[in-house]
Assembly symmetry: C3
Homo-oligomer: 348 residues x 3
Amino acid sequence: MKTDPGRHFEDFRIGETIRHATPRTISAGDTALYTALYGSRFAVQSAESFAGAIGYPAAPADDLLVFHVVFGKSVPDISLNAVANLGYADGRFLAPVYPGDTLSATSEVIGLKENSNRQTGVVYVRTRGLNQEGRPVLEYVRWVMVRKGRESARPHREEVPPLPDAVEPASLGSACPAIDIRAWDNALAGAPHRFGDYAPGERIDHLDGVTVEEAEHQLATRLYQNTAKVHFDGHAASGTRFGRRLIYGGHVISLARALSFNGLANAFHVAAINGGRHVAPLFAGDTVYAWSEILAAADLPGRADIGALRIRTIATKNQPCASFPGRMAGGYDAGVILDFDYWVLIPR
Amino acid sequence: MKTDPGRHFEDFRIGETIRHATPRTISAGDTALYTALYGSRFAVQSAESFAGAIGYPAAPADDLLVFHVVFGKSVPDISLNAVANLGYADGRFLAPVYPGDTLSATSEVIGLKENSNRQTGVVYVRTRGLNQEGRPVLEYVRWVMVRKGRESARPHREEVPPLPDAVEPASLGSACPAIDIRAWDNALAGAPHRFGDYAPGERIDHLDGVTVEEAEHQLATRLYQNTAKVHFDGHAASGTRFGRRLIYGGHVISLARALSFNGLANAFHVAAINGGRHVAPLFAGDTVYAWSEILAAADLPGRADIGALRIRTIATKNQPCASFPGRMAGGYDAGVILDFDYWVLIPR
Amino acid sequence: MKTDPGRHFEDFRIGETIRHATPRTISAGDTALYTALYGSRFAVQSAESFAGAIGYPAAPADDLLVFHVVFGKSVPDISLNAVANLGYADGRFLAPVYPGDTLSATSEVIGLKENSNRQTGVVYVRTRGLNQEGRPVLEYVRWVMVRKGRESARPHREEVPPLPDAVEPASLGSACPAIDIRAWDNALAGAPHRFGDYAPGERIDHLDGVTVEEAEHQLATRLYQNTAKVHFDGHAASGTRFGRRLIYGGHVISLARALSFNGLANAFHVAAINGGRHVAPLFAGDTVYAWSEILAAADLPGRADIGALRIRTIATKNQPCASFPGRMAGGYDAGVILDFDYWVLIPR
């Protein structure tokens, strides 16, 4: 058969490395589309002049654009028959990506666990994004529930890999050149708050809301060459329990990150992804809001220019965040769709 | 508080200059998106070969793209708590902008006038767009009705600035290099009509109509990093008198300008904005039409290559313009949404 | 009159050549938008590194992007008053187009035939796309039913031009440089199947479906500067027999081509268009599926690197293609919207 129906759970082997298709050159077209899709305003990614003044050779591509492109490559091989994207861990941005760079990706299968219903299993992969020189630019673990092709099939070997709760701060910052913080212009960046102005426990309601349209998430998801059917096929979706297209979870992450500018304007670089959970699906017509909590602040060895903030950003739908909806004893508050834990870098 | 709730009327002081956040490098991605959003067909902006032949060093960015990006920067500081964008005056395009240039913006508060209801006031600002060399590329005055934070607050000083009815033709053209009009190819440009073919009083129905979608105006408005909530938050909008998202007025201006190609194909450069009024709101699903009247034709001192036409373009919704709907004694005809007065340059 | 109402049937003369307006520089912004609109994943167009490794000087623009831009230029002069776009023939891609190239277009009228109802006629044109050096990059014939302006008008001369059923394989390949097939990486390209793996008669269901939104086809059609009213004016459309905007037929071709990646991943270059028929209209909200049949496989003289496959791709709406819906004795199966016959190049 010439077409690719996607792998089922029993088709994965622990230890194998899958090289993914379709390398992709990131261009100024992609970064402009990223701005149009999310309205991101972080100055380093927005302006050559700002990036150049503080020490970048050029304005880098948004970190999450890099994440989505790398993620997209893994979809045909990893998650075409996925029931759900369950989680992320140990995500690290390792080198900056500039327009003109070409990204490719590989995934190593690092864990497999059949579910008790025998119809699905969980696949753990470590996905790496590489640039045209073969240098890693991003690495992360995700695990995903995948259908079995035959109920009788068994995995060769089962194993749940150990995963860190959070990325060690000491490993952060390799995708960020030395920053000349004397050249960092707060007015141009959008806010005066630097590393020392944030304290663990602080909560920030990002105030703004953005309604999502079918055309927007489809444009975004295709830009990432992500082929998961659930995002595009409204005819097939009409027969599912949701009755409609599901929005790519990464679209929610980027919306939340863009909203977080209002309160975190100087947090210019996502350095690591500690974990993330798509709590509930988002559909076209819903309005997304977000709030963040500062979980930790960390010095980086040898870096007097920047510090790291560990942030938990909660995104909701049709529910403003003035009351900081989150996780309660019995589960998540109504309206919560994303619980995202990550490290950002911010000038001192 | 880390988040920016926006300024209220009493927070402005006459004479202060506000430096706006997020400089923005204009790229070929932005110009491609601008084409996709409006379908603009002016040859100078569309083709390197055409621009180069007539004397431009490169194809410039569309003037209104520059306007929207500069305008967008001013929104968080000026109009986040605006009730209405009331008018524009004395807008002048001062230098061409090419892909690769980085735009930033400042606004000087030049007037304040509290409204008699004591709940709002009018703020007058002169906004300047600057390129990466600090050279002004655009300057315009706008005034906007802004909510007060406290009803008891009074402005330090009130003053309504004098504003010109129209920009003097003698000041036009600094954003336009010398044009080699022998190299101007009417067939490629789309029409044979030059400066001398238009006469004051002439009316042109631009014929075409374009229906606007939520995804389109949101993509556009985010591309300009304009953060006004009313354009994006459908959940909050459902509780307002309109019950839905409002479309950024600048989106209408760009739609009308693109429609005006059919009748004004050689009017390649918007040199000045004399005034503009958003007569009624536009919503997704509405269809925009436009017509124009030539108000004046002016020679430019020292320029044998080009002349200036002062044009009034009226845009309507769900109302074709064969009957030239406009302003009557008692107000505007039904369907009128924009009344825009500007100077264009056109080869002789 | 300054506005262009478009030509009617009686305004065309056999033998005349029309130079079309608005040359257009193709940029990285256009190619990024093309990816966002269709999700195309062919590696040659997606990655500089892949294109460079096999012998291209740079990643070329997608062939159908070139087609749409050239087609768009012809619309104001040829088909503004068209009732229907009837067919294509003898389409050949003659030179690669890279970001930075500027496209312009001309059309030669090669045939005219009045319809028996005396209200319309068929106009045959050979349209050529040229780059900034005047080199042809694309040439194709299309014929279109055009309204008459006056029922009494008669064409000067009538003639139906002879047209080939298919482009001769010997003429294919001029838009494709010599390919170093040792450097062709199947894993990166997305599939192992090369020229020799396909056989005439083989049918491939491309599996995936994609729902189309109004904003998407409007953005695409404007990107191509195609001004046909039926795609944009929802207000006028509400009074037609369809009651809504029609989607540009070329949008369907590009959707089908992108879907065909799943089964034809190495078929990297559309070399020729033998014919095409828009069987039924597509509307926003419909979901497009596609399947292909290999009609022929041909060696190319002097090319040991690549071969040509003649492919017929059928696109449907709201009808998955597992049963290969197509043309029956009495016409097309329900749901068929496109019947497209073309040559692709594929490495050996």
